[in-house]
């Protein structure tokens, strides 16, 4: 295809563009959501459709309510509001609900073992799951393993002759997320999958998620891991030192106390968790968000400790890499800007 190389890139700031578009499209639904929310949370009565997404108090207020005991019950008004708001189908409102997913998933999973009724949380999670099920239309999420013997826009073919160009297509398919079966209730063996898929949805929208939501996510990662990551604080640095530290602490730990909130981390849950965490840790602009980076770093250590404890190679490999990569981003390691012009007093013409 010979297209014009001068074609300007697609319009920027898609986020703001779509938000204004939908805001004008369904003002009635926005207003309903605001009205019902302010009846549940009186502190948020000053909300208007224009500041709904930007109101600074909204997140802290709602997430505090979500953390209260009994917050996830079936008759909980806030859960119902979250459910209804997500079902309204307005993209902005769905993003708004999605912000609270870390808190919902975090509180929910940590409370599951207590066998408290959490129908409210489950309804919200199932709504997110159903949304993904519909949008994926029974297809698994898969990616093709790039074949370097075939040329691409970024490289020329290497060496071997391109023998099989059509037949190889299917065999190199890797399934990232299996096709979804519809669920009307949370079956306990599918719980991790349902939460995992909701987190996959969160990940696809992560560019629109506020920092506070991501910070909460990182904190819950630590809770889920249920493992102290301190022993890996000086990961691969001073192993000798580590050894001595280990002997010292050996005396204290005999029988470990029960850690609250530790959850079984199967691949279905761990995979989206690691992707979100990687974004929090290494995503662009994270140097501006010191708090997020710190939290993500701690979460990363905890999850790495957990994966080492479980001797789970599928988790050790990515977590180990993330640990190493995060170290290069530590504030003390300076990065040189290769685009910087060399300073000189000589003017060359």
């Amino acid at each position: 295809m010979s297209a014009d190389p001068q074609t300007p890139p697609p319009a920027t700031a898609t986020a703001t563009a779509t938000s204004t578009a939908t805001a004008t499209a369904s003002p009635a639904k926005l207003q309903t959501a605001i009205d019902s929310l302010s009846s549940i949370v009186p502190a948020l009565s000053t909300l208007t459709p224009s500041n709904l997404l930007t109101n600074p108090d909204l997140y802290s207020n709602i997430s505090a309510l979500l953390r209260q005991p009994n917050s996830g019950a079936g008759d909980n008004n806030l859960c119902r509001w979250l459910y209804d708001t997500f079902q309204s189908g307005v993209a902005d409102l769905q993003l708004l609900v999605l912000r609270f997913l870390p808190v919902i998933a975090g509180v929910y999973l940590s409370r599951v073992a207590d066998r408290k009724p959490q129908a409210g949380f489950e309804a919200v999670l199932l709504a997110l799951y159903a949304h993904e099920t519909t949008s994926r239309a029974g297809q698994p999420v898969s990616i093709t393993i790039p074949d370097l013997t075939q040329p691409s826009v970024y490289h020329e073919a290497t060496g071997k002759s391109p023998s099989k160009s059509t037949g190889a297509a299917e065999s190199d398919l890797a399934v990232v997320s299996h096709a979804l079966e519809p669920h009307g209730t949370v079956r306990s063996t599918r719980r991790a999958r349902i939460v995992g898929v909701a987190l996959e949805l969160y990940y696809t929208k992560i560019a629109h998620m506020p920092i506070s939501s991501k910070i909460d996510f990182c904190e819950f990662c630590k809770v889920w891991a249920g493992q102290e990551g301190e022993m890996y604080e000086k990961f691969e640095e001073d192993e000798e030192e580590n050894e001595e530290g280990g002997v010292g602490s050996a005396m204290e730990v005999k029988v470990r106390k029960k850690v609250e909130g530790r959850v079984p981390l199967c691949w279905e849950l761990l995979q989206p968790v690691m992707r979100i965490l990687a974004h929090c840790l290494l995503g662009p602009n994270n140097n501006k968000e010191v708090v997020l980076f710190e939290k993500a770093n701690e979460a990363c250590r905890s999850l790495f400790a957990r994966s080492m404890h479980d001797v789970n190679p599928k988790a050790i490999l990515p977590m180990r890499s993330l640990m190493r990569l995060s170290k290069t981003l530590m504030p003390n390691s300076k990065h040189l800007d290769p685009t910087e012009l060399p300073y000189s007093d000589v003017i060359s013409l």
Binding site: M1, P5, T12, S142, I143, I145, Q271, L281, H309, S321
Partner: protein
């Protein structure tokens, strides 16, 4: 306009009159060459003066060039505001067409005559173009310094646009030798995406990276690699999907369909370059690649790439451990174990033992009964090391040790040895539970399984209940083992209830296994009709899902499991019909099973039983022996053969006895074997011994699960 910002804001200690006064002067925009005279006296700043005089002597300096030079001076001093003011006087949009023409014309000319620069009239010189490009670049960088990232990015894009329009086919060879055009352009290419990222426009940044990569811009290998790596990481961690524009989706070329795929492609290219030593080794590339291939589950590809890493990058033990992780994650545990054997072997004895290798090896061995003894060694070493450095892992080491002892007991030939192993197994598993049990449900499951196998049913039941509680019912393994334990307690109705609960909590794939368990429970309770009904449903579901599993290679594991289940269902049905003396139906079921897998010991065993029922003893024996030739350690085949031999009379008794003893060695809790052994003893006349055997058989039968614990 520009005069608004004058001297007092930017005072220089050495120069009372700041150089930006040049910028504030009102030049006529049309002024082409230097207008000397009246502005010379204004400058007492030595550096500027020097520059000016040199310029005047050697070249004619036009208005824009002068601003470009002056702006650079200000920039280098750190007066970004002032620099910006100076640069703003250059109307680049007006100049752009001329610059494009100049670049296009002069690069075209370059090839035949190397020094043809000055021949073209009315075309800007390359020096001039470079100078102007540099001015825009510095303007962009000044804006960046002042925090105007979006503006900076827009400025920077002008450079890219100009050069790209002039050179649509990429940078010609050798252009960088005598002018700064290429250098400026390369800097702009590198700067632009960074500016967009700082401005918060990731999609623009990705587009900018792609611009830099898809055309031959003569970037040095390291710079190209840098851009590739930056694009890959932006795509991997940015959290935005930026579709490849249609002009980059060329037929016949591999086209990545998602950001992750594109990132992996780039990282693979980079790792290929490192393998060929075209660029220096960069551990970050390997880490990004590891991360990206791991989260997409492509561990086999990852292993291949780690294999390609040049020697000397990792030390041996580290490399083996890394590879073992990859292969194990890809499901090739035997390969992983082989690598770990090397990593833990005596060749590494001089080095500090790498603890994770030992623990990992212990875990892998604990998964396979045939590696039990090796696993015991690895676990003990892991425990020893843990005591010294990683106390934290002590419980894990004990868990693997206990599991391996349990497996060792099962393959043990000597009775005395088996008892010791079983005791050790429980000892270490209990220790592990005491240490980690509060937080690690898996260790409780291991203890429960071992207890069940040793027929400590009450303890096993308690363990499993605790396990299910901790997992909040989310473990399918727990749901499968618990009803077996309850069935071993001969509480079949309860077992059935548990299976029903489990069916409510399971996903569709796991439900199939549970349905089979439910049917087996029905058989045990002598309700063949219900059992057959369940099997009918089960077969219908399998049939309906078959197409789905067979459609892609990615599901081969699931497809195999389904196939095995289908075969087992037919075999179960054959047993039911044989018990009901409906031999033709039974034969039909066995045939179905054999269509799926011809060499299944159980199918041959069932064929033998059917032949035996038709009193075709010789043929039956042949069938049993076929099943044993497929799987020599198949206790039901051994027992049936022994039973048949008993029918042949006294002379076969010693053979039958040895068969049965062998079966008991393989499966010490097999009540059928004990019972037949009793019969042998009775026929031989040792009644006391026979009574003992019968008693063992009856006791074992009362604690036998409907399916083997595993």
């Amino acid at each position: 306009m520009l005069c608004a910002c004058s001297g007092e804001q930017f005072k220089f200690e050495e120069a009372p009159q700041s150089p930006e006064s040049l910028a504030t002067r009102d030049f006529s925009a049309s002024g082409l060459s230097s207008r000397t005279g009246d502005w010379e006296s204004k400058f007492d700043e030595t550096q500027v003066e020097d520059v000016e005089s040199t310029l005047k002597e050697t070249l004619s300096l036009n208005y824009e060039e002068a601003r470009a030079l002056l702006g650079r001076l200000e920039y280098q001093r750190g007066n970004f505001d002032a620099a910006l003011k100076v640069f703003e006087g250059i109307d680049i949009r007006d100049l752009a067409p001329r610059m494009i023409r100049a670049i296009a014309e002069r690069t075209k000319q370059r090839k035949p005559r190397s020094k043809g620069d000055n021949v073209l009239p009315n075309v800007m010189s390359m020096h001039s173009v470079s100078l102007l490009l540099e001015a825009i670049l510095l303007k962009s960088k000044s804006l960046e310094e002042l925090g105007g990232y979006t503006e900076a990015a827009k400025e920077c894009r002008i450079i890219v646009d100009i050069v790209e329009s002039a050179l649509p086919k990429g940078m010609p060879e050798g252009i960088g030798e005598d002018c700064k055009l290429q250098e400026m352009f390369h800097k702009a290419l590198g700067l632009l995406p960074n500016l967009w990222i700082k401005a918060g426009f990731l999609d623009e940044a990705v587009t900018a990276y792609r611009w830099a990569l898809v055309k031959p811009w003569n970037l040095e290998p390291w710079r190209l690699a840098c851009v590739q790596k930056d694009l890959a990481t932006t795509l991997l961690y940015g959290g935005v999907e930026v579709n490849l524009p249609s002009q980059l989706q060329v037929n016949g070329l591999t086209t990545p369909m998602s950001g992750t795929e594109e990132a992996i492609l780039l990282l693979l290219i980079l790792s290929g370059k490192m393998a060929l030593e075209e660029i220096d080794w960069d551990p970050e590339i390997m880490d990004h690649l590891t991360y990206s291939l791991s989260i997409t589950g492509m561990f086999e590809s990852l292993a291949n790439n780690v294999e390609k890493v040049l020697p000397g990058v990792y030390d041996r033990a580290e490399r083996w451990y890394f590879l073992a992780l990859c292969y194990s994650a890809a499901g090739q545990n035997e390969v992983a174990l082989n690598l770990l054997r090397k990593a833990c072997a005596s060749s590494e004895a001089k080095h500090r033992p790498y603890f994770p290798s030992f623990l990992f090896a212990a875990k892998l061995c604990s998964l396979y009964p045939n590696h039990a003894h090796e696993g015991i060694k690895f676990s003990q070493e892991a425990i020893d090391l843990a005591k010294h450095q990683n106390e934290h892992f002590l419980g894990q080491g004990q868990k693997f040790l206990g599991t391996c002892y349990g497996a060792a007991a099962r393959i043990s030939v000597l009775d005395s040895e088996r008892i010791i192993f079983q005791r050790e197994s429980l000892k270490f598993l209990n220790a592990a539970v005491a240490l980690n049990g509060n937080n690690d449900p898996e260790v409780i499951f291991s203890l429960g399984l071992e207890n069940a196998i040793q027929r400590n049913l009450n303890a096993a039941y308690d363990n499993l209940i605790m396990y299910s509680d901790m997992m909040a019912g989310s473990s399918i393994r727990g749901w499968q083992l618990l009803p077996l334990i309850v069935s071993a307690q001969q509480r079949f109705k309860d077992a059935e209830t548990i299976v029903d609960f489990a069916l409510d909590e399971a996903g569709s794939v796991d439900q199939l296994q549970l349905l089979r368990l439910k049917a087996i429970l029905q058989i045990t309770q002598k309700q063949p009709k219900q059992a057959i009904e369940i099997y009918r449903i089960l077969l219908a579901v399998i049939e309906s899902q078959k197409e789905h599993w067979l459609q892609a290679k990615a599901f081969w594991h699931e497809a195999l499991t389904q196939q095995k289940l289908e075969m087992e269902v037919w075999q179960d049905l054959a047993t039911i019909y044989a018990d009901l003396s409906s031999f033709l139906d039974a034969k039909a079921c066995v045939d179905k099973a054999q269509l799926i897998e011809f060499f299944s010991p159980r199918s041959w065993h069932l064929t033998g039983l059917l032949l035996e029922s038709r009193t075709l003893h010789k043929e039956a024996l042949v069938s049993f022996l076929v099943s044993l030739s497929i799987e020599p350690d198949y206790p039901p085949g051994i027992i049936s053969a022994a039973k048949l031999l008993l029918k042949f009379g006294m002379q076969s008794l010693p053979i039958a006895r040895s068969f049965l003893m062998n079966a008991l060695r393989l499966d010490p809790t097999n009540h059928d074997a004990w019972f037949n052994l009793g019969r042998v003893s009775k026929m031989e006349g040792s009644l006391q011994q026979a009574a003992d055997f019968f008693q063992a058989a009856s006791e074992l039968k009362l604690s036998a699960p409907v399916q083997k614990f595993e």
